[in-house]
């Protein structure tokens, strides 16, 4: 019976991320609209968008291959699995040990690989420009991400997210400069990976500066719905990751019963709301940068990760 309840909790998490992801994006959009004194669409608009897209017909380019049609499902599934493996309201869920932080990042890499290929499939210039820039940004973001992982793993002695969260939730970690640097580094990488301002603009279309939106330009109907949903999930994943590693406050430890889970879930919602609000604030206050300024931005993230690691070594030896 224990196994059944374990599977149940794990399934709840899988469904929870699925249900919350569009809401988070809707919330961010709403806050952004309010910040510039617009009314803005309802926070539930992303759900309506998805449903509308699902009901629409797919217009497929003449020479699109099977890869183009399979990619939305593959990327969505890969991101969903990755999102379900990041602890949200509780640590130590049944399948948490399936993949550690490095593997979760690599799963997102698999999703991006297929999406970039799909951008090349129809053979238009927009797809190519989007794909080539997306892989360039990824090539810069991944080393920064790894150094961040390295820094956190040095503190917690593990790359297993549940272990990291449990360790950092325990009181004796205290405040550390290295962790602060790692946090800034992760936030910068997360902005780049989610195609947010200042790296990319999720709201534009038909602009040469766009990256992610150019890559998926040829998609329509249910395929586009899957890709949009994947993007919502990815944002939720990164925010959950930041929350679980750096702010594991009140996250429920596995097996502590329904009440702890409920508290964990409520606190998790609060964390999401705060993070979404901060993201909207930041995006409203910042301008998008030129594509070829992105290397400097991500280079700074890389250096922060490296500095954090070196500081840890230095502070340990004294």
């Amino acid at each position: 019976m224990v196994v059944v309840s374990d599977i149940l909790v794990q399934s709840i998490q899988m469904l929870l991320v699925l249900v919350l992801a569009p809401l988070l994006t809707g919330f961010v959009r709403k806050v952004k609209a309010r910040l510039v004194r617009r009314q803005g669409p309802s926070v539930f608009q992303p759900y309506r968008d998805l449903l509308r897209l699902l009901r629409k017909e797919v217009v497929l380019a003449d020479n699109a291959s099977w890869l183009f049609r399979v990619t939305p499902y593959v990327t969505f599934a890969a991101i969903w699995v990755a999102a379900a493996l990041v602890p949200t309201f509780a640590t130590g869920l049944l399948f948490n040990w399936t993949a550690d932080l490095i593997a979760i990042v690599a799963l997102l890499g698999s999703a991006r690989f297929f999406l970039a290929l799909a951008g090349m499939d129809v053979g238009t210039s927009f797809g190519g420009i989007g794909s080539s820039r997306e892989v360039m940004i990824a090539a810069l973001a991944e080393p920064a991400m790894l150094l961040m992982v390295f820094c956190v793993a040095l503190v917690a002695g593990s790359t297993q997210l549940s272990t990291v969260a449990d360790f950092l939730a325990s009181s004796y970690v205290g405040l550390r400069v290295s962790l602060g640097m790692a946090l800034v580094s992760l936030v910068m990488v997360a902005l780049a990976e989610n195609a947010r301002i200042p790296v990319d603009n999720p709201a534009t279309h038909l602009e040469l500066t766009m990256v992610h939106e150019a890559m998926v330009l040829e998609y329509s109907g249910r395929h586009l719905a899957m890709i949009e949903f994947g993007a919502f999930l990815k944002l939720l994943l990164y925010i959950s990751l930041i929350a679980c590693v750096f702010f594991p406050w009140k996250i429920a430890v596995f097996g502590t019963g329904p009440l702890a889970y409920a508290i964990g879930a409520a606190i998790y919602l609060v964390k999401l709301a705060v993070a979404g609000f901060l993201l909207a604030m930041f995006e409203t206050a910042t301008a998008k940068m030129r594509v070829f300024r992105v290397p400097q931005f991500l280079g700074a993230a890389l250096m922060l990760g490296l500095l954090g690691t070196l500081l840890l070594f230095v502070s340990r030896s004294f």
Partner: protein
């Protein structure tokens, strides 16, 4: 005498080698006949499969006790020693698996060979050479077999010697191979010492001074490194590997570079005794530079086979980084971490032999059906060659180190080894290893970018030439070879625990330590140190992706609209009518060229805009410099040319001058002798 004759495993492997050599001779006799291709490749397939079976049995079975064989050839006072231990068995598995796959591929591919008599005799000889290098157990036979392997592969590179560029490729290869052998010769000379005992057993037993150990390490990096493609000794590799027929390219890239790595491991880890930690610094440095530079070169390349050859350089760099980590941990007595890094290196050796062979087979299939290697003349092959493109897609995902395939597992193990670096006592290593880890991540991400480019430009989009438009699927043998390797890539990714356990005898033999037994982990997951630190389960990851993808598909098909309409591409309302206007290889590489290329290649884009009124099209010219070739090889080649030009004058002297020259030389030598004593 009625006791059954027991043949030792090494004798079995040697009989396989003998069979390969007989096949080579048979090929000379048969080479003009119609059926030679089928007979020779069929024979090598059977022999490699048998040798693979034998090597697997030796590795998984009683690998602890090695078997030796002494043949009365070679140096008269030494004989030729051959030995099969766990390390040799593992590399024999790599060699013969690659050989069997290449033979299977050759059964189909070989029929398109314009001059089979230039390929068939050397192919079995090359396989035999690689087997012999791994089996050799004394320095003399080792060098002899090494040269045999080099020459056989050189002959295969020169098989199509009339094609432009191939003669140069063969020449550069020959020069670099001679340089490598010279370094190895010096290394073994130092190892054997003044007593001159060339048997590996005697070298292993002898104690080496730190001075000799450092020199041998450098010589091995030069000798084995030049064969493996370590930067800056890699220049021959992207010339020679693509010049050979594609199944031979697969063998050279996927297998022969691994034989060079075997040589490095054998000497540096096994024969030299306990390592010094400073050795690891140089290996880590060279490895990480090789990984990043190799993949940047690959990204800039538009020739499919050369791109794959450059990517081989990257993977060799990754393997050397892992070996460097193993050296660092071993020098500090951290057995578990050393075993982890070492196992990761061997795992990557195996993985790279799978996916690089697969990708070269795919490139060969494309070359066969279109006659093109230039990606900018291909495109849209996913419609014309569906099976090939599926197999190549698997290879591309695997080589990009993406889960759930095998390339990811070995790189994940390397990152886990990098995370063990805080235990190292030396500050230089503490600071260096995280930076090396970041370089590994950069190389992995650039590899993904490179293979998006390679696959996207070659197989996706619209065809850019009539050849690509009218391409046909390749034969069944080639497809079978590709699909077997693709399945192996997947199996290595979802059942990594089995591979790690199979590699543990090698780690025990070389390092005296091993990773925890993975078969005990629940659900076939792997945990390099302990589950609380890190674990990964490829099988579950793949199952989760499969289940959630099928759930999604089910719900979409149950509840969403089914309507689908084909139409012209949208492209923001302006789609380019000409296929040549699609994103090409060079344009895909442009962002990365701008970020990294200005420094690494001194890349410049020149826009040539005709004046108003002129109807010529505007042109974009890309200027790239190979700084290693221009800064290192070109000056050396120039110096050799100048000095030989100068010495050439000596050939046209009068008899008087020759006589005075001889006299002067004699007097000088006598003077030297007089002063010396």
């Amino acid at each position: 005498m009625n006791s059954a004759v027991v043949i030792s495993p090494v004798a079995l492997q040697m009989s396989g080698v003998a069979a390969l050599l007989v096949t080579a001779i048979l090929a000379i006799a048969l080479s003009r006949s119609e059926r030679a291709t089928a007979v020779i490749y069929g024979a090598t397939l059977a022999i490699c499969a048998a040798a693979l079976f034998g090597a697997l049995r030796a590795l998984l079975g009683d690998a602890a006790n090695s078997s030796t064989l002494i043949l009365p050839v070679g140096l008269p006072w030494l004989g030729a020693h051959f030995r099969l231990d766990a390390l040799a068995s593992f590399f024999l598995v790599v060699v013969n698996l690659g050989g069997a796959a290449a033979s299977l591929y050759g059964l189909g591919y070989g029929h398109h060979e314009p001059s089979p008599h230039r390929v068939l005799p050397f192919f079995p000889a090359f396989l035999a050479g690689m087997n012999l290098v791994v089996l050799a157990d004394d320095a003399f036979s080792y060098l002899l077999c090494w040269e045999f392997m080099s020459l056989a592969s050189w002959a295969l590179v020169m098989a199509h010697h009339r094609e432009p560029g191939n003669a140069k490729a063969g020449y550069v290869y020959l020069v670099m191979a001679s340089f490598g052998t010279l370094s190895l010769l010096l290394a073994f000379g130092l190892l054997a010492g003044p007593a001159g005992d060339y048997g590996f057993a005697a070298i292993r037993a002898a104690a080496h001074t730190p001075y000799v150990a450092a020199l041998v390490l450098i010589l091995m990096l030069l000798g084995a490194g030049s064969k493996a493609g370590l930067v800056p000794l890699h220049v021959w590799l992207p010339l020679a590997h693509p010049a050979a027929p594609s199944h031979v390219s697969a063998l050279m890239s996927g297998v022969m570079t691994k034989v060079a790595i075997y040589g490095f491991i054998r000497v540096v880890f096994d024969l030299l005794g306990p390592p010094n930690w400073s050795a690891s610094v140089i290996v880590l440095f060279l490895g990480s530079i090789t990984a990043v530079l190799g993949i940047l070169y690959a990204m800039m390349e538009n020739d499919l086979k050369r791109l794959l050859a450059y990517s081989t350089i990257e993977n060799i760099g990754i393997i050397f980084v892992s070996l460097g980590l193993a050296l660092a941990f071993q020098a500090n007595g951290l057995k578990l971490a050393a075993a982890l890094a070492f196992t990761a290196a061997l795992f990557h050796v195996l993985n790279h032999s799978f996916f690089k062979s697969l990708l070269f087979f795919g490139a060969g299939a494309v070359l066969n059906s279109t006659g093109e290697r230039d990606m900018d003349k291909l495109g849209g092959l996913i419609h014309r060659m569906p099976f090939t493109s599926f197999a190549v897609l698997v290879g591309c995902v695997a080589i990009s180190a993406l889960p759930p395939f095998n390339g990811f597992v070995s790189e994940w193990l390397m990152f886990q080894a990098v995370l063990q670096s805080p235990d190292l006592p030396q500050w230089a290593l503490k600071i260096m290893v995280p930076a090396v880890g970041a370089m590994l991540a950069l190389a992995a991400a650039l590899a993904a970018a490179t293979f998006v480019k390679a696959y996207g430009v070659t197989f996706l989009g619209r065809p850019r030439s009539t050849a690509a438009e009218t391409a046909n699927e390749v034969d069944r043998y080639s497809l079978a070879a590709m699909f077997i390797l693709a399945v192996l890539c997947l199996l290595g990714g979802i059942l990594p625990g089995l591979v790690i356990d199979a590699l543990s005898p090698v780690a025990v033999e070389i390092l005296g330590g091993r990773m925890p037994i993975q078969a005990n982990e629940a659900w076939l997951s792997i945990a390099p140190i302990a589950e609380s630190r890190s674990s990964y389960n490829g099988l579950l990851v793949m199952m989760f992706i499969a289940i959630s993808a099928s759930l999604t598909v089910f719900f979409i098909h149950r509840f969403a609209s089914h309507a689908l309409r084909r139409g012209p591409a949208w492209g923001c309302g302006f789609s380019d009518a000409v296929p040549a206007a699609q994103y090409s290889g060079a344009s895909f590489a442009q962002p990365i060229r701008r970020v990294f290329g200005t420094m690494v290649f001194h890349a410049r884009d020149h826009v040539e805009m005709p004046p108003p009124g002129d109807i010529r099209p505007a042109r974009l010219r890309i200027e790239l410099h190979d700084l290693i070739w221009e800064g290192m090889y070109a000056p050396i080649a120039g110096a050799v040319a100048v000095s030989s030009e100068w010495l050439n004058q000596l050939q046209f002297l009068t008899i008087r001058r020759y006589l005075s020259l001889v006299f002067a030389t004699l007097v000088t030598l006598l003077l030297v002798l007089a002063i010396w004593s």
